[in-house]
Symmetry: C2
Subunit: 249 residues, 2 copies
DNA sequence: TATATAAGTGTTATTTTTACACCTAAATAA
DNA sequence: TTATTTAGGTGTAAAAATAACACTTATATA
């Protein structure tokens, strides 16, 4: 009568939801391994015409001088996405930031201390808006993508994957605007896409394509900081974009 | 003197590797939550001109009649990728199968029983080669992609994401061949890409492009099963492909 | 008022993609 | 034996997308 619940049931996986209380208590189900799970967040920023990462430098032993991306541990009461948001907020003070999961990193010895799984995310932030006090507190610094220092563990691999995923996404979805201030010039936008794709773009062809996107709106503001002549400032209008969400740059 | 190791150290995450033994023992570090972690594998197969999924049907309570993808729990001694291979092997008897991680699913209540994180993978298998006895034992069946039954938990979301990722990957990497027998006709190949993209393709344009790919080699074998006339059989040559790995269909 | 600097603007050539219809080989039916 | 049926196999031209390319303009500063 209890027999139908023995371990001979030909079910490849028994979710806890499908277990009786007896089963949950039984040794067979109790011996499932449990894991520490971390979140690691690759934070992209754009300034002075270059892509940067916000990295933490350890100024104490051990591993003094090594760098890492911002991380934290997953808590029992929060989803993975929420935990990633918490970790990002802890360092930058920012909320409602564009984030995407990169994937789970699960090599046994990726953390040489104890086994820790890590869920990597990337975030795109506007470099003008983060909390500089917090960043100072964590000894974090903006580092140019092209001259990254040695990173701990598999953080280089995370960065590499995040960078690739970001590039692919940025080509078909208007996520790049998260890296810019609300108002930007076309030269800034072009330079942003040049560093995202890591290739130069033709100015006239670029502007032609931008011109066809109704949701990139010219404002009457002029930016005088970048040139003597001054450049028209533009804005991304997400309401207009959502009416016909097509993007290709 | 012990002071530098207190929890006031301004480090956002302390990896176990960076902890002293004292720290690991301390309550602050011991209270990190640990999680059950599952692997779920979305298995694609191609036959009778349609994409199929290998799904498990529960023929016992609870949730009798509901379906799921193949899954299993992560063990302490294996990497996530290895665990995914183990899970796939357990159901199909196959090794060295093309697999890709889809991502981590981490909503708190995704499993209504107890919290379980799940790392989703997808696999592409040649439908002629799996172990039918094992599949029968697990009560698994091939189900057509266009008429999927209700699935447990967030498995529909996993399938959706796996499907999308597979489609994108298949357009720029020669992964589709994993779904075909070693020798195949151009009609079979075209039909495969039609179901992957979910759109019809022009026969002449398709063959023109295939013809430009030196690593899709014509053999002297003729397939007589699909037509009266018989069709030339082709083979994917990965050695040739790797000399100049470009693919676009 | 001359100079330096980034902003701004159209046209043409090239490449890529799409559209499109008939003949062929072999099995099967008449 | 001949006709019919069926999937296999083949090339060209139009259309669309992409890439190449150079000069004028507005303004601050020398």
């Amino acid at each position: 009568m209890e027999k139908e619940y023995t371990v001979d049931i030909p079910a490849p996986k028994i979710s806890p939801a499908f277990l009786t209380q007896e089963q949950k208590m039984a040794p067979f189900y109790n011996d499932k391994d449990r894991f520490l799970v971390a979140l690691d967040c690759v934070i992209f920023g754009f300034y002075e015409g270059e892509l940067h990462l916000l990295l933490l430098k350890r100024n104490f032993e051990p591993a003094k001088g090594k760098w890492s991306v911002m991380g934290g541990f997953l808590h029992a009461g929060e989803s993975a996405d929420d935990a990633a948001k918490r970790v990002l907020h802890k360092l930058t003070g920012l909320q409602d930031v564009y984030m995407e999961q990169v994937g789970l990193f699960g090599e046994i010895n990726r953390d040489p201390g104890e086994r820790v799984l890590s869920i990597a995310y990337y975030a795109l932030i506007n470099i003008n808006e983060y909390d500089r006090e917090l960043v100072k507190k964590y000894n974090a610094h903006w580092v140019e993508m092209h001259s990254l220092p040695p990173l701990i563990f598999d953080h280089h691999e995370m960065v590499r994957k995040a960078r690739k995923q970001m590039r692919i996404k940025a080509s078909t979805a208007p996520i790049g605007f998260n890296l810019l201030p609300e108002l930007f010039t076309l030269s800034q936008l072009q330079r942003l896409y040049e560093v995202i794709y890591d290739e130069t773009l033709d100015k006239r062809n670029f502007r032609k394509r931008v011109n066809d996107m109704d949701y990139i709106e010219k404002t009457d503001k002029i930016d005088k900081t970048g040139s003597k002549r001054g450049a028209a400032m533009y804005r991304f209008n997400d309401k207009v974009y959502l009416k016909d969400p097509k993007f290709k740059l």
